[in-house]
């Protein structure tokens, strides 16, 4: 394995800061599983590659399949600090990258003027007010400047405008931030970067090209059962299997909003609280609304699953 890693060329010249975090995809899977995130082999492989190739991961998929959770759990598993940038429409440089603390700069200038020594050299002052002390770091810059291991999570990146996307590109491909007054700040360690998207718009080619792509879809029955077992205390193995099977059947129906993994978990918890050990027809009929969020979906599912009796 080590010899193989040496063969991977490092286009960023960042070898000195590079410490592979995982030995193999299986190791990734095990590390995530230890923190109760059951990744499928594909997810594990992509996270492994993200580390090896030093590339950000763009995670897409339906809501509630664990996109954000993946980033969080990787951070937990690595014992790294999680820095999160929640994107929204209208986010700009000063919220994502950095901002000069101009109030403080103003104070500094005024302090210089009112002091007894009025002959403060302008160049000195300028150099002073454009220094670290007056820089407000925002998530992206913070992730670059951190000295400890960091996982950067850029959440819902599809909400920013196409033009603003460009802000991310320098950070994502070169792990650096250019500040005109200070020059280019290079990362001292390489953060693992996760971007999540709900696919409300097409992301630009430039962004996609820089990322590894991972589509998280709904898990299969076996994995969903395992997820329920590991996440919901007090649920029996038989019940977990039944739950997973019902959810699979529901997802095959043409519903407005298919149940997500998090809703499956809610449902499992509900059943545990209600003290049900078995899924009979009545139980399903009574608790279906936990799983489905539209009345039309509930009606449809009741009809499909329970026939005409309910």
């Amino acid at each position: 394995m080590t010899s193989r890693r040496a063969e991977v060329e490092d286009p960023l010249g960042l070898d000195h800061v590079r410490e592979p975090r995982f030995g193999s995809p299986d190791e990734v899977g095990a590390a995530l599983a230890a923190h109760k995130y059951l990744a499928d082999p594909q997810t594990a492989s992509v996270v492994f590659l993200a580390d090896r190739l030093i590339k950000p991961v763009l995670v897409e998929g339906p809501a509630g399949t664990g996109k954000t959770q993946l980033g969080k759990t990787v951070a937990e598993a690595l014992g790294a600090r999680l820095i999160r940038l929640q994107c929204y429409e209208g986010i700009d440089e000063s919220k994502a990258l950095y901002e000069w603390n101009y109030r403080k700069q103003l104070l500094r200038i005024q302090a210089g003027q009112s002091g007894s020594d009025r002959s403060v050299d302008w160049h000195e002052l300028e150099g002073d007010i454009f220094s670290d002390e007056f820089l407000l770091t925002r998530p992206l810059l913070e992730a670059i400047r951190a000295t400890e291991p960091v996982v950067l999570l850029i959440d819902e990146v599809d909400r920013v405008e196409v033009e603003t996307e460009a802000l991310l590109l320098e950070v994502l491909s070169d792990y650096q931030v250019s500040i005109p007054e200070l020059g280019t700040l290079q990362a001292t360690q390489l953060p693992l970067v996760f971007l999540t998207s709900n696919n409300t718009r097409e992301l630009s080619e430039a962004l996609k090209r820089r990322c590894l792509y991972l589509h998280l879809s709904y898990p299969d029955v076996e994995r969903e059962r395992a997820i329920v077992l590991s996440r919901v205390p007090g649920v029996s193995a038989a019940l977990a299997l039944r739950i997973a099977e019902v959810v699979r059947t529901l997802r095959q129906l043409d519903l407005r909003k298919a149940p997500s993994v998090s809703e499956t978990l809610d449902w499992a918890r509900t059943l545990v609280v209600l003290g049900r050990d078995e899924l009979d027809d009545e139980t399903v009929g009574e608790t279906l609304h936990v799983l489905l969020k539209y009345q039309s979906d509930v009606d449809k599912a009741t009809k499909e699953l329970l026939g005409n009796r309910a």
């Binding site: 193989r4 890693r5 063969e7 991977v8 060329e9 193999s24 995809p25 082999p41 594909q42 492989s45 992509v46 492994f48 590659l49 090896r52 190739l53 590339k55 991961v57 763009l58 897409e60 998929g61 405008e161 696919n199 409300t200 718009r201 097409e202 080619e205 996609k208 090209r209 990322c211 590894l212 792509y213 991972l214 589509h215 879809s217 029955v221 039944r242 099977e245 019902v246 699979r248 059947t249 095959q252 043409d254 407005r256 899924l279 009979d280 027809d281 399903v284 539209y294 039309s296 449809k300 499909e304 699953l305 329970l306 026939g307």
Partner: protein, 470 residues
Amino acid sequence: MLELLGAFVGELRAAGIPVSTTEHLDAARALVAVDLMEREVVKASLAATMVKDETHYAAFDLAFEIFFATVPAGALGEDAGEGEDGDAASGAQGQAGQGGGAGGQVSAEELAEMLFRALRDADQAALGDAARLAVTRFAGVEPGRPVGGTYYLYRTLRNLDLDALRARLMSAEGPIPPGSLAERLARDDAQGRIEQLKRAVQAEIRRRLVEDRGAAVLARSVRRPLPEDLDVMHATRDELAAMHRALVPLSRKLAVRLARKRRKGHHGALDLRRTVRASMSTGGVPITPIFKPPRPAKPEIFVIADVSGSVASFARFTLLLVHAISSQFRKVRSFVFVDGLDEATRFFEETQDPHEAVMRINTEADVIYVDGHSDYGRALTLFHERYASDVSRRASVLVLGDARNNYHAAQAWVLDDLRQRARAVYWLNPEPQGYWDSGDSIVATYAPHCDAVVECRTLRQLEKFVGTLA
């Protein structure tokens, strides 16, 4: 390996997936980093580095199966088979060696039993062996024939008696009361396993075809367009389902784009009061003019759709799409016709489920007048008679159809009149442009009376057109 990767990338591009040179390089670097003996990891690596859109996965999977089939499925599959119970393993090895030779050592009952056990235990290795036997026995693969294997698949599956297999799988864990939830679950479960079997058989057939004719050639004959490039009028049932799935994210993206476009673009009129106020700080000189926030009116949409057999699926897609983004319009009214005309707006208003609405259009809308052959002239006249007064300057009128008028009168003056009243009249034609005006198609008669006649064969074209509406 590099050569194989190069050919693979070529195939992906040919299938329509945009793979840039950087991504190609990334894939190569990824392959260096991972263990090449693990097929799933290799596949995940290639997908992650080169395929950046979920709807492209199907095309990628197909290409991957063809280009990376021979090595693992053949070599590893047989090793795994050796550990299985006696007759199955020896049978598998004996015949796999001969390739397309006629089977005969395993009886049909034994094969069915093997399949059943492999599926019940979800044993992939055993399933692969059984699929190999089944293909050898039933598919009758003839070397050298330029086919994609669909017929082999059909022949194999027909001989396997899947219904009996499904019934056995369902009752594997004891009898189940009919009509209960448990029955439904068991049925879905059995169905899922049967699908696995189909995939295994298909993979095996592809493997043999690759051995026979080489990956690149086979890939060319099984290649299908991406969902957004599929021709709506000629899609298979599975492809239509894929397009339906693609429609949901597509309409959401479109709605976001329209909303943003309307908000930006141009600004409103000058806000004099605020401009003067702002000028106070610059000594009364209005340096920064301030504008009122833009409030462009949302357009109204009138959709007049031909729902006769030939173009029904296209009309369905367009209605679904337009109603899915109806929040972006002031009003959406839809009308459907064959040789009669009926307003379909109510179906969409009465239910939240657009698919149900479309189904009700098919069953309840009153669109047939005489013989159920499209009569554009009559439909247009009827529309003009009943609804023309509702069409205002804000409205865009979309006519959907192939303009195959069955030699009835065209009545193109209606479009002229509508164009006077409306903002624009567009004609969307799901036929390729080359077919226009052939036979009973009278596009040319209508075209001068429309603002534009647009060829709309694929979801991509449809999305592009609807995007220009708002």
